[in-house]
């Protein structure tokens, strides 16, 4: 089995889906000859040609909107937003259109589009190349939001997203692109959308998180194990709609829950996870649910010390788990 980086796993999933189904095509800025600014589409233009790996004009609402039209026609478009931060002009298309097409037409039309976007900080991207955008879209029934935490998950979930009959917002942490490597099967496999996964089994504290923070949580858990603190890690994988059953089970198991996101704290995905736990797990809890998140500043600053201070990391997670364990 080959060891792939996160971005190579994304690339492999795209290549295999383009090979598998001629209705699949890619559209976005610089996705053609350039192969994408992060090289997600590297080599695909050469293999599949201009028609299926389409460089678009620099206009995000059209990237989403044209993709939505093609999806309603019956194609399987994979639209790339160059940075998640630049998805804002396309919000009307994604929320008012893609998310509502099936419901508003009473199941007459559907919109099987995948919209990929690199999110997240830690690469000196400043305010507009660093944001976490999932919460903006996380109360829009009709939409699914998938945020894989590893190369293996990225490949399997991206294939599922492309094959899904509804719109999927597929958010890839840009720092994970080259930071994370693991063995990824070369054959075809898919992973279920809408299901969380236990990434580590433990008894003392449960960490519920998603995306790159899963990696940091694993690092923290490994360190704490040497101190005798056993950590359960639940990776949400799909942050909307949430896998309620998995959240309830993971929270009930240890009774001490740490929720982690890189996003700003107020109004983040974590609030909804906490609400599910408070509705269902009151008598199983041994400590108040704790949140670890970015501060409520508009976004991540550029200057290195400020960016570092903004970000969740393994040390901060370790400290938070220890506090809960000692509660």
């Amino acid at each position: 089995m080959a060891v792939l980086t996160y971005i190579q796993a994304v690339n492999q999933a795209l290549r295999e889906e383009l090979e598998r189904d001629e209705k699949v095509f890619i559209l976005g800025e610089d996705v053609g000859q350039r192969g994408g600014v992060f090289l997600a589409t590297d080599g695909l233009y050469e293999q599949f040609g201009e028609e299926r790996v389409l460089d678009t004009p620099l206009a995000e609402s059209a990237i989403a909107g044209v993709g939505i039209g093609a999806a309603m026609y019956g194609m399987k478009p994979v639209a790339e937003m160059q940075f998640a931060d630049f998805i804002m002009p396309a919000i009307n298309q994604i929320i008012s259109e893609a998310a509502r097409i099936r419901y508003r037409s009473n199941n007459d039309w559907n919109c099987p589009i995948t919209i990929r976007a690199p999110y997240g900080a830690g690469v000196h991207g400043g305010l507009y190349h660093s944001q976490s955008i999932e919460a903006i879209f996380a109360n829009q029934p009709g939409l699914k939001i998938v945020m894989p935490s590893s190369p293996y998950d990225a490949k399997g979930l991206l294939k599922s997203a492309i094959r899904d009959e509804d719109p999927v917002l597929f958010l890839e942490h840009k720092r994970a692109y080259r930071l994370l490597k693991e063995e990824v099967p070369e054959e075809d496999y898919t992973l279920p959308i809408g299901k969380a996964e236990t990434k580590r089994s433990g008894e003392d504290v449960t960490v519920i998180t998603y995306g790159l923070c899963v990696h940091f949580a694993k690092q923290a858990a490994e360190k704490l194990e040497q101190e005798g603190i056993s950590t359960e890690i639940l990776d949400l994988r799909t942050v909307y709609p949430l896998d309620q059953q998995a959240i309830i089970e993971a929270a009930s198991k240890t009774g001490k829950v740490l929720l982690v996101t890189e996003d700003n704290k107020e109004g983040s995905i974590l609030g909804e996870v906490a609400a599910i736990i408070s509705e269902h797990c009151l008598y199983d809890l041994d400590a108040p649910v704790k949140r670890l998140a970015g501060p409520d500043t508009p976004a991540t600053p550029f200057a290195a010390p400020l960016e570092k201070a903004f970000l969740v990391n393994a040390d901060k997670i370790e400290q938070a788990i220890r506090e809960l364990a000692e509660f």
Partner: protein, 332 residues
């Protein structure tokens, strides 16, 4: 007056059929207002004043292959593409059998897949990029299919108008964009919407042809849309067409247009009604008699009466269906 030099292209039967469809759209719309004012239906947004442009353009399309992405005034377009009178009334009443949305959307938010009428929303102009998407997909599949998208002149200020047209122009997509300029965007007149003389002037920015045509001149509209259709199928890209008409009703049943325009202004435009002009032309040409016209009116009235009765008595969707179809059933 209608330009009569270009009639040769269309047979007598076609011209009479066009007239019937224009009149049908108008009479349906008039009935909707009666039903609204009687408290039977909550909302109307009208096609009145734009039927000639809608029907003439539709006749220039291939109704068995092309996709249409109408906006909320396009009753004429959806009737031509196969929505029945009964279905139109079912959506006005918001009943379960409404093929557009099963009563989920407000009236005039059209969509019917079997007739290639693409579902639309209320935020204006989002349909222009969708039309480019349909055109892109049909080009990729090497089908001889055109997407036809309409909007109002106010909507041409939206970013999606620019983004969608530019995309279609760059990739030479088979698309026709028809702006139905009815001079008002709710209360704001054309002069406060755009500073250019014609909406079609915007075409130059996309490197495509832009044409402005009298919205009451059915034959000229037919010719212009037909030409755009040929360009599209020849791989020459999109065309921007602007039809000039006048909105004969308030914006919607919730609007009071006397707060921003005068009775005289509206009355003046009623005397120029395109449907009446078209009928007069047919009569002058000997294609239609007064008696035949009366027969058409009677037939339409009966059809509308039946459709109204049916829709009024049809059931609403059961409340147990409220959460149906948020998502599909799974993967492929």
């Amino acid at each position: 007056m209608v330009n009569q030099t270009k009639q040769a292209e269309l047979s007598k039967d076609t011209l009479v059929a066009m007239y019937q469809e224009m009149l049908l759209a108008r009479r349906i719309d008039e009935r909707m207002w009666l039903l609204n004012r009687a408290g039977s239906i909550p909302f109307v947004v009208s096609c009145q004043g734009q039927e000639v442009a809608q029907i003439a353009a539709s006749y220039a399309l291939n109704k068995d292959e092309d996709f249409v992405l109408p906006y909320y005034r396009d009753l004429g377009v959806v009737l031509h593409f196969g929505m029945t009178v009964k279905e139109v009334f079912l959506q006005a009443y918001g009943k379960a059998e409404d093929p557009n949305s099963g009563g989920r959307q407000m009236p005039s938010h059209y969509g019917q897949k079997k007739n290639r009428i693409v579902t639309g929303s209320s935020p204006v102009t989002t349909q222009v990029p969708h039309a480019a998407g349909f055109a892109l997909a049909s080009k990729m599949e090497k089908r001889n299919v055109v997407s036809f998208v309409t909007l109002g002149e106010g909507s041409s200020n939206q970013g999606d108008f620019h983004e969608g047209l530019n995309f279609a122009a760059v990739h030479k997509l088979p698309m026709i964009v028809m702006v139905e300029n009815n001079k008002y965007a709710i209360s704001v007149p054309l002069s406060r919407q755009v500073a250019c003389e014609n909406i079609s002037d915007r075409a130059i920015g996309y490197g495509i042809p832009g044409v402005t045509v009298d919205g009451n001149d059915a034959l000229e509209i037919y010719r212009v849309v037909k030409e755009a259709h040929e360009r599209a199928l020849n791989g020459e890209g999109p065309t921007l067409i602007e039809t000039i008409s006048y909105r004969l009703t308030p914006h919607s049943s919730d609007d009071d247009d006397m707060t921003y325009r005068t009775k005289d202004e509206v009355a003046d435009h009623r005397t120029l009604d395109g449907i009446a002009q078209f009928r007069d032309m047919l009569i002058e040409q000997g294609y239609l008699t007064e008696a035949e016209d009366q027969e058409i009116e009677e037939k339409i009235k009966q059809e509308i009466n039946e459709a109204t009765d049916y829709a009024e008595n049809a059931p609403y969707a059961g409340v147990s269906t409220l959460t149906d179809h948020v998502y599909g059933q799974g993967g492929e």
